[in-house]
Amino acid sequence: MDLFEYQGKRYVARFDVPVPAGGVAATVDEAVGVARRVGYPCVVKAQVRVGGRGKAGGVRVAGDEAEARGCAEAILGMEIKGHTVHRVWVERASEIAAEYYASFTLDRPNKVYLGMLSAKGGVEIEEVAEHDPAAIARRSIDPLVGLDEPTARAWVEAAGLDAAALDGAARLLCALYRCYDEGDCDLAEINPLVLTTDGRVLALDAKVTLDDNAAFRHPEWAEYAATETEDPRERLARERGLTYIGLDGTVGIIANGAGLAMSTLDVVNQAGGSAANFLDIGGGANADVMAAALEVINTDSKVRSILVNIFGGITRVDDVARGVLAALDRVEIASPIVLRLDGTNAAAGRELLEPHLSDRLIAAPTMLAAAARAVELAV
């Protein structure tokens, strides 16, 4: 789960990462209220989960109340790379002496944690990584050992941060590491991390991705559910326990397992069609889940045919068949459905569907045949 900047800043702040005083606002009046509280000059920042908002005019500085109002009016409702700005974060402007970069993430090949720190922070960090990789000081961190302050200090020195930033940066790195580790982040990234002219080290932005698998031990994450996705269909799918990503094509896809779902997209594409979505009903899906999946896809008016591709393992094909029939009972499915069913209890599943087969409910013997038929129907 990706957090917005305002959520990420509050999240890292819980672990004592210093962030500027600020607040979130959904209306112009609220934004002005926050500005009054934090004082001027202040920065008004669009809250979107996409890069490049500064270049798009989504980050502006205000010197007084009238300017703060003007900034909020300009930014709220703005479109940035297809994302509508519903909220702004308003914070006291910092006087910046230097901009750095810091992050913690998983080093997948080596199965340890990876910390990255650079004296060349700011928006162009990816270019730094590409053209000047030596400017990024990497530290492997053993998950069983963690990061202590002496190690953090040595790391800050190795990265070549200004001497004035040493104490503050080392403390901030330890706090950010605790946030990454105890806070169950997939990614905790501060860019820019700044040294202010009065010698403080602060997180001016925070990009935090939480590990959804750890939600069971973080009841406080419940507050993020409401802002997690803006796509109503994605939200509906999530409520039903489905992994759904909307796409532009005309063939609705339902499969079990992410690998098979991706593979289904591939074969639809190879058959000359295009997928309207990615939908993984997961392992052990029952009839209700299958019915919910069909109902979610049914709300997509782009869909011209639906391809159900199931290879039962934990998921039992007879349950899938019952789900299809239940969905057909409950709602009118607008598009013809092509089914490919194999694996655990496949014979029983096919038998259940047999009496209901028609030109609206079609069985196909293989994955490729099913894809070809679904594409034909979607043209």
């Binding site: 998950p143 698998n213 069971f216």
Partner: protein, 294 residues
Amino acid sequence: MAIFVDETTLVVVQGLTGSQGRFHGVRNRDYGTKVVGGVTPGKGGEDVEGIPVFDSVKEAVAETGATASFVCVPPRAAVAAILEAADAGIEFVVCITEGIPAHDEARCYNQLVTTYPGTRLLGPNCPGIISPGRCNIGITSGEIARPGGPVGIVSRSGTLTYQALHELSAQGVGQTTCVGIGGDPVPGTNFIECLAAFEDDDETGAVMLIGEIGGSEEERAAEWIKAHMTKPVVAYIAGVTAPPGRRMGHAGAIISGSQGTAQAKMDALADAGVLVARNPTEAGERMVDVVRGI
């Protein structure tokens, strides 16, 4: 021969008394796997369809001589179960549990490496391992596999593992062992370890590798194949047309660069001499050709 497990493997099922553990544990036993016990704390002395249940893995090992464990417990208990098995001297642990936090997986893996180097973990979040006709640990339907070899399968995706077995069996081509390594961020066993085991296995004549987008495990496997593998490899990578994945901020881009896309993986594998197929069916057909040529 087979890799990692065979007809001599003695298996205990951790979580045998739960609904999933019972269903799959008994199914594995009925397939012919030597399931010698189950473990559920507090339920020692009971049995599940004739399989004795013990309070701890240590006790189960002492009583049955078990060498492998099948961990079938919920996410919050899975890491403790894996480490308990390792501490009891179990050499091979299969964990099918989906939804374990990544940090728990990282700590578990590093604990295994440092404290229990004699234990191999397969998974988590994997379908398990099957050496057809000999041993099946996990959730794969035994009937879709075909004994006799000569193909070894290693796959990151559960349902695509079944698809691969199905494609080969339907064409009359058997398998030596099929290993599902799972798609979680910190897999206990990776592609390279499986490829190396297949390379050393006399019965295995060719290997099918099923990968998917994300990470760089397939690229690393390609490098290894180029340097060490003498047996033919057929690969399929799922996700050529998948929507661009969630990019993990700048950090993700910095770590992986252009790696991670299906195309980059396919190019790396092709460059290593691997036959790269466009879909699972084509991978099966390619493998049939390879096997006929051996």
